[in-house]
Amino acid sequence: MESDLILVIVVVTALVFDFTNGFHDTANVVATSISTRAMSPRLAVGFAAILNFVGAFISLKVAATVAQGIVSATAVTTTIIFAGLVGAIAWNLVTWYFGLPSSSSHALIGGVVGATFVAAGASAVNGEGLVSKVVVPGLIAPTLAFVAAGLAILVAYRIVGRQRPGPVNRGFRAGQVASGGLLALAHGTNDAQKTMGVITLALIANGNLSSDPAKFHVPQWVVISAAAAIALGTYTGGWRIIRTMGSRIIKMDPAQGFSAQGAGAAVILASSHFGYPLSTTQVISGGVVGAGAARRLSAVRWGVAGNIAVAWVLTLPASAAIGGAVYGVSRIFGTGALGPVVVSVAILALTSAVFARRLQRGSPITAPQG
């Protein structure tokens, strides 16, 4: 009975994380399209939400278990997963508040690493795995996308530079709808599967599903709920991050928007093909900066880009610290369900208080007009 209660809490927390993942990462897909007026804000997030939902059903190979190869699989418990999810959700909300695009996957890994560290000690954390799966990809993703988008926009300007801007801009705007759609599909497939993996692992750990790899399957309700949560989050739209990505880093034209998105999609799909997972957020951010810098270095607001880089560096330690702290607080109340229940109630109370205060102070940030 008590383990069932923890399971319910983990499932709900995983779906909340999935919602914040969609909410936080909407910008990756729609920011450049909105900025270049390829689509209206509401149409863009609606389009991205539908393709995120569809993307979640395209592939169900839940191979990417959370923090696999980074923490000891035998050390992970449902309470650790819960604490890791809370760490990731908290960091997603902090970076959203400051309008900074950061990796939800790295936040989740950080949260689980922090909770595992507190629960089982440093020996349960594989430092080499952390470097190879988070630190190195974190350096490669933005650099590669920066160069790819930079070269792409130079080629694009070379080809269409002498044409009338009207038809050229209309053409690139139409192209952005396709490249944005591809990104949304890829995002739905990759990121919704993370949540499906978390919930399925919790179901296996609780004995609801067989641990026999031959009988491994993801229940249909898990697929539908994960797809719905990420799509709903995407539709809600993290407008602060959309503004940063779409107009605060560079003021982009449709050719730059297409190059950033097209290069981003190429890098993400190539990384998927070679089994070298890169963060969608870091790839698209690098692409946006690259498309701006190739035209003119001073076109990039380097201060904003620097803030984003700082957020990336802080993602792992910050989410790990929160995940570790949440696990520590949960353990004060023993190994049962009481700890996660107390933490969940405290978070709900805190969130309600923040929203109530926000409502009293004025209207929240919503979709820009036009």
């Binding site: 070269l151 038809p167 053409g171 591809l182 497939t189 297409f258 799909l269 998927s272």
Partner: protein, 78 residues
Amino acid sequence: MSTIVDTTTLLDLVGVSLVAAVGLTAAFSVAILGATRFSDLRRDGRGAEAAWFGVLTALALAACLGAIVYAIIEIQTK
């Protein structure tokens, strides 16, 4: 270091990413160039030249469409 960074995979990733990114953007830019020139030349009554740019546009768009289909297959199988 080589156990932490798989250099061969990394180099493959860099090469394919750059070729795909530049290739896709170039193909789509050629499609836009072709469509713009097609429209301008046809308006000027230069049908033969316009037809050449029409073919160029169709080929470039076919290349882009092929890339999209390949990408969807890639998403599905990974």
